[in-house]
C-alpha cells in the first residue's frame, strides 16, 4: 500500500494549525493506522509534547532533515507521515517540496499526498489559496476553516470564494468545529492527546482526574470532526472506509 504524506500548514500563526495536526494524529490513531509526525517549529516544537512517541522536531530548511523525512517515506513502518509546517512558511515549504521533486513524485503516484491548509477569515486567506494554486494540482488539497479559535468566516464573500476555488482541482473544504474553550485549555495544559483526555488518562497512561463535562465536550468535538474528515477521499483511502457522497466543492 502506498504511503501517505499529509502536510498541515497555514500562512500565518494562530489559526489552529497545530490543533488540526493533533486532531489528525488522534483520528489516525483511533483508526489504528500507524503514523509518524514531524514538527517543524524548530527547535522547541509545538506538536511534540502531545505526541512525543511518534513526533520528531526538525528544521525543514536543513537538507539532512528533509532527507530524514522524505527518504524514509517508503521504508518507515508508519503508513502516514504528517508534517506540521511552520506557521507562515506554507508557500515556502511547498516551493521547497516542488524544487526537490516531492510534488512530482506524488503526481506520479509514488505516494498519496494531501495538504490541509488552515485558513483565517480575512480576505487575505483567499489570496493565500490563490497563491498555492500552482503547487496543489495533483494532490488532495483541503481548506480547513477552523472554528476552534472562534473565527468568524462571514467576512468571506461567497461569490469571490467560489471564484478562487474554481481554479483548483481536487480541492475540498472542511469545517473544524468549535471546541469549548475551557476544554481546549485543559487538554492543552495536560499535554495529552484528545483521546487520552477523553479516556481520563494522565501522563504516561496513568489514571487521570479530568472533568467529565470537559471530557464530554472533547468527545463530542472529536465525533463531529470525524464526520468531517471521513468525507475526504484521502482519509477514506487510509481507513478503507466506503466512499461517502462528497459535498460539492466550492
Amino acid at each position: 500500500m502506498k504511503p501517505t504524506l499529509i502536510l498541515v500548514g497555514a500562512d500565518k500563526g494562530g489559526v489552529g494549525k497545530t490543533t488540526l495536526s493533533r486532531a489528525l494524529l488522534d483520528f489516525i490513531a483511533r483508526k489504528d493506522v500507524p503514523a509518524r509526525a514531524f514538527d517543524t517549529e524548530y527547535p522547541r516544537g509545538s506538536l511534540k509534547r502531545f505526541h512525543p512517541d511518534i513526533t520528531e522536531v526538525i528544521d525543514f530548511t536543513d537538507v539532512a532533515d528533509q532527507m530524514k523525512v522524505l527518504d524514509t517515506l517508503d521504508s518507515t513502518d508508519a503508513r502516514v507521515t504528517l508534517i506540521d509546517l511552520k506557521a507562515g512558511n506554507l508557500s515556502l515549504s511547498l516551493d521547497t517540496f516542488d524544487r526537490i521533486g516531492v510534488l512530482d513524485a506524488a503526481r506520479n503516484g509514488q505516494f498519496n499526498l494531501g495538504l490541509f491548509h488552515v485558513v483565517g477569515s480575512s480576505i487575505a486567506s483567499l489570496e493565500e489559496i490563490s497563491e498555492l494554486a500552482r503547487y496543489v494540482n495533483g494532490m488532495e488539497y483541503i481548506v480547513a476553516r477552523n472554528a476552534v479559535n472562534d473565527t468568524n468566516f462571514f467576512e468571506w464573500d461567497q461569490k469571490t470564494y467560489k471564484k478562487y476555488f474554481s481554479r483548483l482541482n481536487s480541492a475540498h473544504e472542511i469545517d473544524i468545529p468549535k471546541l469549548n474553550e475551557m476544554a481546549y485549555e485543559q487538554v492543552d495544559l495536560a499535554g495529552l492527546t484528545f483521546k487520552d483526555f477523553i479516556d481520563n488518562k494522565g501522563a504516561n497512561g496513568a489514571a487521570g482526574n479530568h472533568s467529565f463535562v470537559l471530557r464530554g465536550y472533547v468527545r463530542k468535538w472529536c465525533a463531529d470532526l470525524d464526520l468531517e474528515l471521513e468525507r475526504l477521499q484521502l482519509i477514506q483511502g487510509l481507513t478503507g472506509a466506503k466512499p461517502i457522497k462528497m459535498a460539492a466543492s466550492a
Binding site: S211, F212, V213, L214, R215, Y217
Partner: protein, 243 residues
C-alpha cells in the same frame, strides 16, 4: 439503563412551563430523600430567587448552567460523590439547553456514566403541547426513569382525549400526583421557614389543627407515592455518609 440499589440517582424536576409546582415537587423529593437517609446533593440553577436555595440554604448549591464552570459544578460534583443522590430543580426556560447539554457530553448514557440513573420528574402543564414536550424529552434523554407529575392544583379539569392518550403514555413508567391543598395550608408550606422534613419529624407548633391535618394528609399521600415509585429505597451502605 442500569437500575437498582447500587445506582446513584440524578433527579431532574422539570417542566416546559413555569409556575406549575416544580419547586414544590423538588422540595418534597429533597425532604423525602433526607428522611430516607439518602443525603441528596441539591442544585438550584434558577437565576431568580424563590427556588430550592431559599428552602435549603445550607444544603443547596447555586449553579449557573450557562457557563462551563457551572456545568462542572453540577455534573462533576454529582459524579464525584456517588454515595449521594442529586436533585436539580430546573427552571422551565433551561429545559432544552440542559437536555442538549446532557446529550452533548453524554451524561446519563450508560457507556459514559455507568452506575448513574437519571430520573426525570416532569411536571405536566395544562396543554397538549406540554405533554408532547414531555414525550420529546423522554425520547431525547432516554432516562432510567421518567415520572410524569400531575399537580392537581394546576390540572383541574379532566384531559381531553388526545391529552389523556399522551398522559397515559407518559405515565406508563410512573406518575406522581400532587394533591391540591387549601389556601391556608398552601400559604403555610410556601413560607421559606417551612420544612416538610421537620413537619414529619417534629410536633407542629403554632399551626391551626385544620392546616396541620391538611398538610399531614398531603404529605402522606405524596411520600407514599415516592415509596411506591422506589425513590427512597436504600439498601446501600450510604446512610452513614452525611453531607
Amino acid at each position: 439503563m442500569a437500575q437498582g440499589d447500587d445506582a446513584t440517582r440524578f433527579h431532574i424536576v422539570c417542566s416546559d412551563q413555569p409556575r406549575n409546582g416544580k419547586t414544590l415537587v423538588a422540595r418534597l423529593l429533597c425532604d423525602y430523600l433526607i428522611l430516607s437517609r439518602r443525603a441528596p446533593l441539591i442544585f438550584d440553577p434558577a437565576t431568580s430567587p424563590g427556588g430550592l436555595r431559599s428552602y435549603f440554604p445550607a444544603r443547596a448549591s447555586r449553579v449557573d448552567l450557562s457557563t462551563t464552570a457551572g456545568q462542572m459544578a453540577l455534573f462533576d460534583r454529582a459524579l464525584a460523590q456517588p454515595l449521594h443522590d442529586s436533585v436539580v430543580d430546573l427552571p422551565a426556560h433551561q429545559l432544552n439547553s440542559l437536555a442538549d447539554l446532557m446529550r452533548h457530553i453524554g451524561f446519563g448514557q450508560e457507556s459514559h456514566t455507568p452506575g448513574v440513573e437519571v430520573v426525570i420528574l416532569f411536571v405536566a402543564d395544562r396543554s397538549v403541547d406540554s405533554l408532547l414536550a414531555g414525550r420529546k424529552l423522554r425520547g431525547l434523554l432516554r432516562p432510567a426513569r421518567f415520572i410524569v407529575v400531575k399537580n392537581e392544583a394546576i390540572l383541574l379539569a379532566e384531559f381531553d382525549r388526545l391529552a389523556r392518550f399522551l398522559y397515559d403514555g407518559l405515565a406508563k413508567e410512573g406518575q406522581l400526583i400532587v394533591p391540591k391543598l387549601d389556601g391556608a395550608a398552601t400559604a403555610a408550606i410556601e413560607d421559606k421557614t417551612f420544612s416538610f422534613r421537620r413537619f414529619a419529624e417534629e410536633e407542629p407548633r403554632g399551626t391551626p389543627d385544620q392546616v396541620t391535618r391538611g398538610i399531614e394528609a398531603f404529605l402522606g399521600r405524596v411520600f407514599r407515592q415516592f415509596e411506591m415509585l422506589g425513590l427512597g429505597v436504600d439498601s446501600r451502605p450510604r446512610a452513614a455518609a452525611g453531607i
